[in-house]
Amino acid sequence: MARAIPGRSPVTMADALRQARGAGEPYRGIWSWFSTVDHKKIGIMYGVAAFLFFLLGGVEALLVRIQLAAPNQDFLSPDQYNAMFTMHGTTMIFLVVMPLGVAFMNLLIPLMIGARDVAFPRLNAFSFWVFLLGGLFLNVSFFTGGNFFKGELGAPNTGWYGYAPLTENAFSPGNGVDFWMLGVQILGIASLAGGFNFIVTILNLRAPGMSLFRMPVFIWMSLVTSFLLIFAMPVLAVAMFQLMFDRLFGANFFNAAAGGTPLLWQHMFWIFGHPEVYILILPAMGIISEILPTFSRKPLFGYPFVVFSGIAIGFMSWGVWAHHMFTTGLGAAANSAFGVSTILISVPTGVKIFNWLATMWGGKLRLTTPMYFAIGFIAMFTIGGLTGVTHSAVPSDYQQNDTYYVVAHFHQVLFGGAIFGIFGGIYYWFPKFTGKMLHDGWGKVNFWMMLIGFNLTFQPMMVLGILGMPRRIQTYPDNLGWNFWNALATVGAFVIAASVLVFIYNVIISLRNGAEAGNDPWDARTLEWSIPSPPPEHNFDEIPVVHSVDDFWHRKYVEDPKGRPVPVPAGAAVATHQDGRDGGHGHGIHMPSPSYFPLISAVGLPTIAFGLIYSYALIPVGVIILAVGLYGWVLEPVSE
């Protein structure tokens, strides 16, 4: 904390906002957000938008749980129920966990590698606007099925995985599936744009001295995630295009009568879908790999092992897709091969868990809220990993496939893993981007409620699966022993909801009256803590020169011969670590100018999608908007 850049006092949020407004001339106030190309503002918008979708997806989950709280209920009609679980899954995956990961990548990648922004700031803004509009487009479908207030929902109702041929016109008339396939297609464009941008940024914009193996683990996980994104999304795009040609233009890709096979859809969907699982979890693994060392007061145990296991997961995730299809009749050879590959992929995941434990071992653990969530991640993700291993025992999976056991498993991974990691990340980095600490006491209330709610909701589902309850049924008979466990899961879901309300309350009171964060409230290890909170628009007054992993920590502490860290005398280290080539104190640094063209281009995409559904006349309008946006984008003078 004491090691602020000389001559710069900690900045308050109000100062920072004023500064941000001033920097955005001539774009002032709220409008500056529409044209911003600043990775921090885009990251915040990504995060806030994804969090709002999180609330929406949460409400959908609660409706599902109310319906299932007791047997033989008709709180929701089958159609409404199907729409709810479809939108819950699609929302949580494409509109919540993915973009929350992207939000962290946006906020942190430039700061952690010592860069002023991402490689393509306007492409970054484009990615956000496409994501936001794509998400809204998807949710508009709720209102297109007639009278929304009478419960006539037009939303897709074929599951987030949309198995053909159920998604074909013959079985799903109406526009729901059209909104789903086009919405996901639009969201894919946002993911691709983000993925390209992050890879180039990480590979090309690292500060002097930051070799690949001096990068924070979060950056490594972001890199692997981005590669998975750019290679997985095009496969999904093709599957969605095939469905689109089937539905809108009468093609035969999934038409059994013409000789087509619905298994083509499953193969393509899961070739995307399994890397996707790691797209969802790797950023959270990166987050807790930053939190654990900071609060253990020790470096990450076995940095190269953690990095290489992340890379290994990235590669192996391409060879396990058919474990989603064990019961489709692929044959013994394919089932054996994919069973073994599924067994194998659990090894690098297990390695990480032991490395994290070893990081804490021998440390002096500061049990703050972010640390609670990080430890919660390890505790809960372990359950998810182990239930995953039971699926790799293929014959046993014949029983569990498509039951609540699977629902329990992937929520243990995606809620117990990804969401716990993300909440830990929010508590950890909130001070950096707002200048205020989140309240630690309320944070712990938030944690315990979420942990208890989580276990109440999802562990009973494990039992339900074993008791033979299949997924995606909106009603069940009362004589199968499922009643108690379902009721328990519903109670748990409401505890989770309450914990999220506590979180919102915490954010509000902390933004108003939170303690000032200062530059480095956690005595942390990575470069983002070396600059003010919130960071100035240009991030670094002077681009740092990096000498090791956890460079910022080593500016504060040196290790004596026994490996004991000793603080560096105040002020001694600062001057020697900067190369000064960009001039000091933010003067004379040219940041990319704001631009409206990413937003304009993004508007073109849902316009085209609406055109495909309602009236082809809209398509040229969308194309023209897109073209105007792109030409303006390419041709506008860039003052950098």
Binding site: P165, L166, P262, D397, Q399, Q459
Partner: protein
């Protein structure tokens, strides 16, 4: 961090652990009817349960190890008031890390052997087949026909919808297909599921231990219309003695299935 908080955490995690164990043990004990996959009534389901438990016990051991380590670490290494020194900075230990890479790999290799054996055994229909049943799924009805006995027009006899009859103690082969979307044929107490895919014939075999009635259910989401839908696509399985089963099929062929069904319950 106060000691009270630590204790709270330990108690909570401990009870969680205990709860999970209780849940597992209760599954096999308390609920024996219904669709409990841990209380099988057939050899295929039995084998699948055994394989499941074979994985669950080591998994439970690892679970206890990891959660135990977490509690131990928090108890031993949490920051104590007034201690401003930093811990020794350990960066890693390759030997240890290689060990905990290889250990799970070995453990998993042990799991892989019975897995592969199971895939092969359950994947191929045994040479001794008691009878064959054609299963045809359509939204939201199951139809069962029995090629062992032909009706007057030479077609396999067809039973009433959503009611399957099979003989006890014999291997029964199912040839499964769908008329429209994907469904999944599943009798939890007798064995795992196999998808019914249009334009494709999947095979599966089961063997029921003894006569009795079981419930079966569609396990692949297949949509809904009005009050009908995936959730209601259930069927009744009547396991009969081989003699009663034969009589049932003959009854179907002669056109009086009801009479035979009533007496053929066991």
């Amino acid at each position: 961090m106060s000691h009270r908080g630590i204790w709270l955490r330990r108690v909570l995690i401990g009870s969680l652990l205990l709860g999970t164990l209780l849940i597992f043990s209760s599954c096999s004990g308390i609920v024996s009817g219904g669709q409990n996959t841990l209380a099988p009534e057939g050899s295929v389901a039995g084998r699948q349960r055994d394989l499941f438990l074979l994985v669950v016990w080591p998994a439970a051991a690892i679970f206890v190890l990891v959660e135990g380590l977490i509690i131990l670490i928090i108890w031993r290494f949490h920051h104590r008031k007034g201690d401003d020194t930093l811990p020794r900075q350990v960066h890693g230990n390759p030997a240890l890390e290689i060990a905990w890479t290889i250990a799970p790999a070995v453990l998993l290799a042990i799991v892989a052997v019975p897995t592969l054996a199971g895939v092969v055994t359950l994947g191929a229909t045994p040479s001794k087949i008691g009878t064959t049943v054609n299963v045809s799924a359509a939204r939201w009805v199951w139809s069962f026909s029995y090629p062992d006995v032909k009706d007057s027009s030479g077609q396999p006899v067809t039973g009433p919808p959503n009611e399957l009859h099979i003989p006890a103690g014999q291997n029964v082969e199912f040839i499964i297909t769908s008329q429209d979307v994907i469904h999944s044929f599943w009798i939890p107490k007798l064995g795992g599921k196999t998808d019914a895919v249009p334009n494709r014939q999947n095979r599966m075999w089961l063997k029921a231990d003894r006569p009795g009635e079981y419930s079966g259910q569609c396990a692949e989401f297949c949509g809904a219309l009005g009050s009908e839908g995936h959730a209601t696509m259930r069927f009744r399985v009547v396991v009969q003695t081989p003699e009663a089963y034969r009589a049932y099929l003959q009854g179907l062929a002669s056109g009086s299935p009801q009479a035979v069904a009533n007496q053929g319950g066991n």
